[in-house]
């Protein structure tokens, strides 16, 4: 074995939760378009782009260190995402009018759809890149987890 890597946070797929997370760590959104946010954190401006199904803060890890607030942002996002899911479920149960319940179910479905879309985007990109890099790929799926084994003769 030569290298082990693990993503340090769950990907930020939901815009509202991402904005909530930035606010929770003291960030301030200065400009926002559909795919790009400018966020000020600790007096410095950062660009957040919606790329490949997630909101991503780009930084130059080669030339420096991972900003310390990244860990706080991850926790804040997870908390916001969990709270949103719970809120939608609770409101669904309380909703008396059929159209209200339908709207809440649709909102929760869209939240779930973003996660599934991210998984599919990542899977398809990796399959495509792996083949271009000369790897053979074996794919298995267990309980929603996708395992891609890439093999190449060195």
């Amino acid at each position: 074995m030569s290298g082990v890597w693990r993503e340090q946070s769950i990907p930020m797929v939901d815009r509202a939760c991402a904005l909530e997370a930035f606010a929770a760590i003291g960030g301030h959104v200065t400009t926002a378009s559909s795919s790009v946010l400018q966020v000020q954190v600790n007096g410095r401006e950062w660009t957040v782009r919606h790329v490949n199904g997630r909101y991503s803060v780009r930084y130059n890890a080669r030339g420096g260190v991972r900003p310390t607030w990244f860990a706080e942002l991850s926790k804040a996002y997870e908390a916001a995402y969990t709270a949103k899911l719970q809120r939608l479920k609770a409101e669904e149960e309380r909703a008396t009018a059929e159209h209200e319940r339908a709207a809440l179910i649709e909102e929760r479905r869209q939240l779930e759809a973003q996660r599934l879309e991210l998984i599919q985007t990542r899977r398809e990109e990796i399959l495509q890149r792996a083949k271009a890099m000369g790897y053979r790929v074996k794919e298995t799926k267990t309980n929603g987890q996708i395992r891609l084994v890439l093999v190449r003769n060195g």
Binding site: G3, Y59, N60, I119, R122, I126, M133, R152
Partner: protein
């Protein structure tokens, strides 16, 4: 020929992890970077013994944890 292998896991919450084997030296990081660029921030790769062995292709050596990827700001 020695087999080079990368196992990528995509969890149900969308997060990913990866393990390489049979790829020596800094090339294991380069392979991960090429595979995952823009999909995730490929930093904090933990190196195992094989990483520190000389790669006949790249002929480079490196030690400790290395940060890669991320892009620019």
């Amino acid at each position: 020929m020695k087999e080079e292998r990368i196992v990528v896991i995509i969890d149900a919450d969308g997060s990913m992890s990866a393990k390489t084997s049979g790829i020596k030296g800094t090339r294991c990081i380069e392979e991960l970077e090429q595979l995952l660029d823009q999909l995730a921030e490929v930093d904090d790769v933990e190196h195992t013994r094989e990483f520190h062995e000389r790669d006949p292709v790249a002929g480079q050596r490196a030690k400790g944890k290395q940060h890669i990827g991320g892009g620019q700001q």
